[in-house]
Amino acid sequence: MPVTHEDILRWLQRSTQVLHENSAYLTQLDSAIGDADHGSNMDRGFTAVSAKLASLSNADIGALLKTVGTTLVSTVGGASGPLYGTAFLRAGMASAGKQSLETPDVIALFDAALEGVKTRGKAQAGEKTMLDALIPAIEAGKQAASDQLPPAQVLQRMAVAAETGMKSTIDMVATKGRASYLGERSAGHQDPGATSCWLILQAFSDILAA
């Protein structure tokens, strides 16, 4: 079953809810290696997104995701704003005009998002950022796609890989973003951005499984 426009709307609503529920947790993670705002940043951003969803029920998936991107850039207020903003903007460009997504479309969408985050943040794998959840997720997604799996199962594997990737950030030393100011002391803490990235992918997987 392809991912429908309706699925995307429900994914965004679910993400809003999950990020709201986990706001204190994300902020607590950020307080250890950052400035204690990642939860409120993401909550503020997705609350603004969710307020726009009603007016976007007629937009195609591409237009919808682009609006998510511009909204996040304008409202998040932290480094994660330009990063997630660019991710959704690029995802929207990769799915321009589409009303539904087959597995290759899903992969193309996330590939575009990943490129966006990399370009915006000039970071790579192993620097203790959201990329350490996103990169393994997309690798797992590509593997699932080459196994001809449908989007729901692709997303399920992506979410699992994102969670593993998120946990791998605990041992890493940050070399990008605020956490890099802590140097070696950033090790031993899970990256907040990798955690929100997993939550968003898990929300997508949950929606498609339901």
Binding site: V73, G78, A79, G81, P82, G85, R120, G177, R178
Partner: protein
Amino acid sequence: MAVSIVIVSHSARLAEGVAELAEQMSMGEVTIAVAGGTDDGSVGTSLDKVIAALQKASNPEGTLVLLDLGSAVMVTEMALEQLDPSERQNIIISTAPLVEGAVLAAVEASAGSTLAEVAEAADNGHEMPKGKQEREP
């Protein structure tokens, strides 16, 4: 006309304070626009504020953008992407220390220097003497 200066900071007060200090050295001859804090006034950056500051500063001689922390680079780059390419060419994001760079950039800009010269002057903020250097003549 002089090169303009834009201050991007996570704190509104910080941005205004830097502008206040820099303006003392340029005395109204240089446009110094600020983008500090988020839209709702908390600590963070605002794309809309950065775009508005770049527009306010826009002039034929160019604009130097100074930042408080590395993460302000991303929002500034997104703002630049929303401008005309011709406009964007005329803007440099400085790697200088914010306060020291802004003061030196204001001095240089008020002398009618080019954007490249103003950017170089800002980078000299790293060498601004603060005590120790002065103590060892």
